[in-house]
């Protein structure tokens, strides 16, 4: 006999439609209830559009350039004006005591016009201009370098025309480019040290965020809270084991960088050690903060991803930092990865010492302290 409780549409197309619509409605309801996932689906595309569409620029301009003018003539003035007008070079002044501006990252280029330049130019002796470029990120400097010679020679052509009518086949000025730190423009030299920061960000944030939400999800949080442990104690106890993981990861990446990718390692080991420590702690504290917001491990993962995406795009890991518009650079400056990349690239490629990059360490340290305070304030010893 037919089971009447199943209605008349147990089989066939109509039955299938009914069952599908049942599942469809249930999924819609659940999707709406799960606020973080819902936000993710709506916000993430917008975030990606803005970041990829506006922030990322493969032709970086307005690169900070230090001028070393050893003479001041109308030719040098023409050159400076032309370089500035090209939009690629923004001239800055730096103090000798601040250290080498290429190492500290204050300048992307140092342009030197030597004594006797103008005289040699008039005598058609093809004088040289030296451009030293920070080539740790080959992509960041390449367009400016590629166009420098044309910009300078075209600007001078007008001045020189009036001097001598003889047209020359060779350019008036020989622009000598010195690609510092990465003369062969090897992409791995830039990517591999950067990957250290990316790997540490991903795993450190995720691991603590999950470690705490797991307690909530499995019901062990209530037990943990009923035991005598203060918030700071719980946080430190949770963070330290994972900082060991961070140290191990660092060793693995550095060994691979050195032996597999032959990335040079020229700077202060101590600076890198300090940088890694502060950076890992900052990310672990952030993960802990995420765990006070997320209720489930899934939500913790989503929050991690929310943070991870701008970190990769705006830190200078994938795209030249100086190629981004000002607002994007400001956001980038807030991210610990941005500062860590400067440290790790500085140490590995630019022979940076502690004084050169101590400000980057401070920036990460400030982020870490802020996150620790937020995490402790948000962490509840009650189930409220």
């Amino acid at each position: 006999m037919r089971d009447l409780t199943k209605g008349n549409m147990g089989n066939g197309m109509l039955g299938a439609l009914h069952r599908i619509s049942g599942i469809f409605i249930k999924e819609l309801i659940q999707m709406r209830r799960d606020k973080i996932t819902f936000a993710m689906m709506l916000v993430l595309p917008v975030m990606q559009l803005i970041l990829f569409g506006f922030a990322i620029n493969m032709d970086p301009k307005h690169l900070p350039t230090k001028l070393q003018l050893e003479e001041n003539t109308r030719f040098t003035r023409t050159i400076v004006a032309a370089m500035q007008n090209s939009g690629y070079f923004d001239f800055i002044t730096t103090d000798e005591s601040d250290g080498d501006p290429l190492v500290t990252g204050k300048a992307a280029f140092i342009v030197t016009i030597p004594v006797g330049f103008s005289k040699a130019l008039i005598n058609n002796q093809q004088p040289q201009i030296l451009i030293e470029a920070d080539a740790t990120d080959p992509a960041a400097a390449s367009n400016a370098i590629g166009n420098a010679s044309t910009i300078i020679n075209q600007a001078l052509a007008h001045d020189l025309q009036r001097l001598n009518s003889q047209s020359s086949l060779k350019p008036a000025v020989d622009v000598v480019v010195h690609r510092a730190y990465n003369p062969e423009a090897i992409t791995q030299y830039n990517i591999v040290p950067g990957l250290l920061g990316v790997i540490l960000t991903m795993t450190s944030v995720m691991i603590t965020a999950i470690a705490m939400t797991r307690e909530a999800e499995r019901g062990t949080m209530e037990n943990l809270l009923s035991l005598p442990a203060k918030p700071v104690e719980v946080m430190l106890g949770k963070i330290f084991p994972y900082s060991i993981v961070g140290v191990v990861q660092t060793f693995v990446v550095l060994l691979a960088a050195y032996f597999l990718f032959e990335v040079p390692f020229t700077g202060s080991v101590l600076l890198l050690a300090i940088g890694v420590t502060v950076f890992v702690l900052a990310n672990l504290a952030l993960g802990f903060t995420f765990s006070t917001i997320a209720r489930t491990q899934m939500e913790a993962l989503q929050l991690t991803f929310f943070f991870f995406l701008p970190s990769i795009l705006l830190s200078g890991f994938m795209f030249p930092f100086r190629g981004m518009p000002q607002w994007a650079q400001y956001i980038g400056e807030l991210l610990p990865l941005t500062h860590f990349l400067r440290i790790v690239r500085g140490v590995m490629l630019k022979a940076a010492q502690i004084p050169d990059l101590v400000n980057e360490v401070y920036a990460i340290g400030a982020f870490m302290l802020f996150m620790c305070v937020v995490a402790i304030l948000r962490y509840r010893t009650t189930l409220d």
Binding site: G219, L225, S226, L227, P228, T381, T382, L383
Partner: protein, 309 residues
């Protein structure tokens, strides 16, 4: 120091706009075993959590073991063992690792010794390296009780510790609780089982976040001020609905092959039940049990028990 292990008054807890606990007062002397009863959602768990500092009361004040429940939850946690409703130990740690973890957080000395003893008392020495998650329900409860008593707490708060545990394991569990109580421990235990409630010195009955009554089993039965009859025999079960409609009947329920009927007045009740009596069906007066008393009190307090399960 106060003689009360728990001394709270006017406890209120609101979640958003929902009132979970609405003005509960409890004065519990040290060294007793008290039962916490009430339907699901009556506020038992919320009250226990407020007492041990896991929830901040919205209103009210009080002390637990002489410490302010609003400000000194750290001290309270140090002296209190709280067993959660759901097994909340770490399933991916072994039995031994769970005990060691708890012992460390209570800063116990001689952790190895204490854990060894606890395992021996539990009879789990040979299984100490198994994952706690693999234990059966009864063993999980025993492990949890052992863990929360390891630090020699002054007060035990047990939230439905025997839910879903077989009768023998429940009996063992209660033997253990009375043993601990004899040593001076104060125990507040929430339960749905009437037989467990009868093992308590005092019973506190909550419904809809309010304290309906409290007292010893006898006192509560007396307070209810009802009588009970039993109609037993073939065919009586079909009569339940009509019995419920009778004037003078305040509650009626199946009781195996019989129907258990309660009412306020013995004569009145007897009169209206007479017509159900026959050759096959006997009518006898029986003792009022705790369940009858609670159902009566719920009705008195204006609650419809069908809403509360």
């Amino acid at each position: 120091m106060s003689d009360y292990a728990i001394d709270v008054s006017g406890l209120v807890k609101r979640f958003d706009n929902k009132v979970a606990v609405n003005g509960v007062d409890i004065k519990m002397p040290k060294g007793q075993v008290w039962g916490f009863l009430g339907p699901n959602g009556s506020g038992k768990t919320t009250t226990i959590r407020m007492i041990c500092g896991l929830l901040q009361p919205s209103e009210g004040k009080g002390q637990c073991l002489g410490f302010d429940i609003l400000k000194q939850s750290a001290q309270i946690k140090n002296l209190t063992g709280y067993m959660t409703q759901k097994f909340s130990f770490w399933g991916d740690l072994t039995i031994r690792e769970n005990l060691e973890f708890v012992a460390r957080l209570y800063q116990l000395k001689n952790i190895k010794q204490i854990v060894d003893n606890t395992l021996a008392n539990l009879g789990l020495t040979h299984r100490q390296h198994q994952l706690a998650g693999a234990l059966s329900g009864g063993w999980k409860q025993r492990l949890a009780l052992a863990a929360v008593t390891m630090s020699n707490p002054k007060l035990l708060l047990l939230d439905e510790p025997t839910a879903g545990v077989d009768p023998q394991a429940r009996r063992d569990f209660w033997d253990e609780i009375h043993k601990l109580s004899a040593q001076g421990l104060t125990v507040l235990v929430s339960t749905h089982y009437m037989d467990e409630a009868e093992r308590c010195d005092q019973i506190v009955y909550l419904a809809n976040g309010e304290l309906i009554t409290q007292g010893s089993v006898d006192e509560i039965i007396k307070q209810a001020d009802i009588v009970a009859f039993q109609l037993k025999g073939h065919g009586i079960r079909e009569q339940l609905q009509s019995i419920k409609q009778e004037e003078g009947v305040s509650s009626a329920a199946y009781f195996g092959a019989a129907v258990h009927v309660c009412g306020k007045n013995a004569d009145e009740l007897k009169d209206c039940l007479h017509k159900y009596q026959s050759d096959d069906i006997s009518l006898t007066q029986v003792d009022v049990n705790l369940e009858d008393a609670f159902i009566q009190m719920m009705a008195n307090a204006g609650f419809d028990q069908r809403q509360h399960g």
